[in-house]
Amino acid sequence: MFTSNPFADLTVFLPPLVMQVYIVLMIFAVAIGTLFDMLHKSSAKFFALQRKKSQAAATRRLSGAETASIAIRTIAKEVATSGEFCNPKRRISHLLMFYGFLLHFITTIVMVFGYPTQATPAPGVLPVLWNIGALMILIGGYWFFFFLRVNVAYEGHSPFSLMRADLFIVTLLGSVTLACIWEIVQIAGNLTTTKIAFGLYIFFTTLLFVSVAWSKLAHMFYKPVMAFQRRVEEANGSSTLPTPAARNEGR
């Protein structure tokens, strides 16, 4: 079970080139969408201004080595371990979704481009990893959706009351849930239901990537940059925050 490349099995009704072009288009959509978002909201201009202000307020200059070290620490903590989260449940849920997404997305690309047809079968480990990735997203994502979203957990909203901020999580869960449904239905063998499930999968996936300008998806770019900038400001003295107290400093 689940050791067969679902994208290769698609090719009974869909030429492999279609999926390959689609993936390239989606990557493009994310890039264009993010650029459009930054230009339209002038957020790039804003960030540039902030950097200039922070450098002007700096009390010391950071060396190249220091800056590199900050970058590495940001990648190691904030990016790799979702270290910014103070709430352990949110952190775990995010780690599941983050690594699940990486696994699922990378295996998708490898299977679609590396093993496009049934004549070029993928090693069994790839679809397994693809499914594990999907499962991680689903566990982390549904947990987040039903229990951890702050408007549900802290404001008493029903999980079913949706707002624009839910665009990302809903399209992500829609995409991955339908990916699994499509895979199962495809294995079962009915061509019509496979086409329907696959169509829905593509619908949600498209929505996910195309809506980047209006959803929280772009956080994957902004958050690491912001975390890096925050560390820089702490290090170069331009932060407006007080420095931590030495113990027993007060009278």
């Binding site: 802290y154 008493g156 029903s158 079913f160 009351s161 009278r251």
Partner: protein
């Protein structure tokens, strides 16, 4: 509300219900547990007890501490001080009662971890003035909230209590309360044998100086929405001294405290021309109030009066002379930290306007009026006094019980007990807590019963504002203007304008008279009717709607008391232009009111002031 949610009714049973988790409520919870080991003690708070109430940002002084261990003050001295400051009219039994217990409260605070400033030579608490000691109190509230959480059986945060419930069987006995969750909207019915009200007094009933965003910078917390008065008034409890509104002289705009400045930094005030103006008004004050002007320290209201006269004579702005004092680095630090641990907004004002007290003498201002019971003022419910000290007509069995059986109060809720501040309010909570335990144990099997019709009817009433908005919203395209409902903000703005223009707000330099007060009552009557037409868009607005409700009821009470007292007892707080002088012959009394919920009538009386201390 979302598709799949529904409004449930949740029942909470308790032996003692504490409404309000501020200083009074936390004291009540603590003491109730000490005396009632096996009792169920429930605290209900509309916000989060960790930071709720007027102590949210901290305090940098404890203004009620005797220091009996060092012979610094005795409780009788405190009674004289409070009586003097309130121009003779305080409940001396209640004030004495708080003063004799407050030292144990303060010592427990130190034990619990509140940092006290100490005198380096004597090792004693550092005195700011005769009655005040200095603390590093940024976490004052979280510390006492911890004590309350350790004591209470349950703490319900984010539940707004809107009404008390009465006993089905016995008249004039409380049986619980109702409210709603500000988070999930569920209806809560609290069934309790005894109820202690320790809610907030009244801010935002008079128009403040700042009316934009600045509306938020009131001297007394904006979330003190008069539930301390609204809840007992609704069920006919006797209220006292509700005309005794307080006006404060504080730093301009930010309302930063001046106590440490006057007492510790020893600063003084001057008019715009650098003159010490207070002595110039001595004679005119003496004409108004007689010998009271010679009492030391000069009563708060009389100092206000001099300030006000000077400003009206066109010699403002009045400034606090700080340039000398701030040259001392210790005093400069105390001056700033005083704000940071108590009224951070004043530090923000000075930073925004480049005001450094070393170089400028900062401006002072007289605030809009507030109605509360724990400061240099004592509005509130009429309560029974301590069994060993109270004159016979001041006690009817249980200390701090109101004129409704089983209903107790502490903090801003209780009238006649000026100058208790934070430590005194916590202490009064303790007193009420112990009393409530006694009451519960004496009840035995004679326990109050809820009337199901009463709380079912109230359920409809409580959510009416949400219904009004949902249905009425269909009439208009968009925006805030509807012919059929008003928002809570629109309601509070109307209330503040009425009180300002007719009941002696800043707009009339605190002056009012009988025709003005009567006109105010007419307008308040229409506002009260319009309370049935508040439109609340969501649960947050529903909370605002009920806060408005309690404020309007309280404002009517304040206006009636102001009308009833035909005298100017506290010039500098407010003036009756038609009775401009103090009149000890007729008015050396407490005013009292009782609202009849069935007829809607108010019954006003005078109550004697007994001086039990020489």
């Amino acid at each position: 509300m979302a598709l799949f949610s529904s409004r449930k009714t949740k029942f909470v049973d308790s032996d003692i219900l504490v409404i309000g988790g501020g200083f009074g409520g936390c004291g009540a919870a603590y003491e109730s547990r000490y005396w009632g080991r096996d009792l169920k003690v429930v605290v209900v708070e509309k916000a989060n007890i960790e930071r709720s109430g007027a102590g949210a940002q901290g305090l940098y002084a404890i203004n009620c501490y005797m220091g009996m261990q060092w012979d610094e003050n005795q409780p009788e001295d405190h009674v004289r001080y409070a009586r003097n400051d309130l121009m003779g009219l305080v409940r001396e039994d209640l004030v004495f009662d708080i003063a004799r217990h407050v030292d144990s409260t303060v010592h427990k605070f130190e034990e619990w971890g509140l940092p006290f400033m100490k005198d380096k030579e004597t090792g004693r608490y550092l005195r700011e003035g005769k009655w005040q000691i200095m603390i590093h109190g940024e976490s004052y509230k979280p510390i006492i909230a911890e004590a309350a959480r350790k004591a209470a059986s349950e703490v319900y945060n984010r539940i707004m209590v809107t009404h008390l419930l009465m006993d089905k069987a016995r008249p004039n006995r409380v049986a619980g309360a109702v409210g709603f969750s500000v988070r999930d909207g569920n209806f809560y019915v609290f069934r309790s044998k005894a109820v202690i009200i320790a809610a907030g007094g009244a801010s935002h009933i008079f128009k403040p100086h700042s009316i934009g965003e600045g509306m938020g910078r009131t001297w007394y917390a904006p979330w003190s929405s008069a539930s301390a008065y609204g809840l007992p008034i609704q069920i006919g409890a006797k209220m006292t001294q509700m005309e005794n509104r307080i006006v404060l002289t504080r730093f301009k705009d930010g309302y930063g405290p001046v106590g440490a400045y006057f007492l510790h930094l020893k600063t003084t005030t001057e008019n715009a021309y650098g003159e010490n103006y207070e002595p110039n008004w001595y004679n005119s004050i003496k004409e108004m109030v007689g010998d009271y002007v010679d009492h030391q320290p000069v009563p708060t209201c009389l100092r206000n009066h001099a300030f006000l006269q000077e400003v009206m004579a066109g010699r403002g702005p009045i400034r606090m002379v700080t340039k000398e004092a701030f040259k001392d680095p210790h005093k400069e630090t105390v001056g700033w930290e005083n704000f940071l641990g108590m009224t951070i907004g004043q530090a923000v004002v000075w930073a925004s306007q480049n005001i450094d007290p070393k170089e400028t003498n900062p401006e002072l201002v007289m605030s809009e009026p507030y109605v509360m019971g724990s400061h240099a003022t004592c509005s509130g419910a009429w309560a029974s006094g301590p069994e060993d000290c109270a004159p016979a007509d001041y006690q009817w069995g249980y200390n701090r019980m109101m004129t409704v059986d089983g209903l107790f109060g502490a903090g801003d809720t209780i009238g006649g007990t000026a100058h208790k501040f934070s430590s005194g309010s916590f202490t009064e909570g303790r007193i009420a807590g112990k009393s409530a335990v006694k009451y519960v144990k004496d009840l035995g099997s004679d326990q109050p019963q809820l009337n199901e019709t009463e709380y079912e009817d109230l359920k409809t009433v409580v959510y009416q504002p949400i219904e009004n908005y949902k249905v009425g919203r269909n009439e208009i395209v968009a925006g805030t203007v509807s012919p059929s409902y008003i928002s809570p903000l629109q309601g509070i703005q109307r209330l503040e304008k009425i009180m300002d223009e007719y009941a002696g707000g800043i707009g009339t330099f605190y002056m009012t008279n009988e025709p003005m007060l009567n006109r105010g009552l007419e307008l308040l009557a229409m506002l009260k009717e319009d309370l049935d037409h508040i439109g609340a868009e969501d649960l947050h607005q529903l909370q605002r709607a009920w806060e408005l409700n309690h404020r309007v009821l309280t404002s009517e009470c304040v206006t009636r008391h102001t009308l009833f007292r035909q005298e100017t007892r506290w010039p500098g707080y407010y003036y009756r232009a038609d009775y401009p002088k103090l009149d000890d012959t007729e008015w050396h009394v407490f005013t009292a009111s009782q609202y009849d919920p069935k007829t809607g009538e108010w019954h006003m009386t005078k109550l004697p002031v007994h001086h039990i201390i020489e």
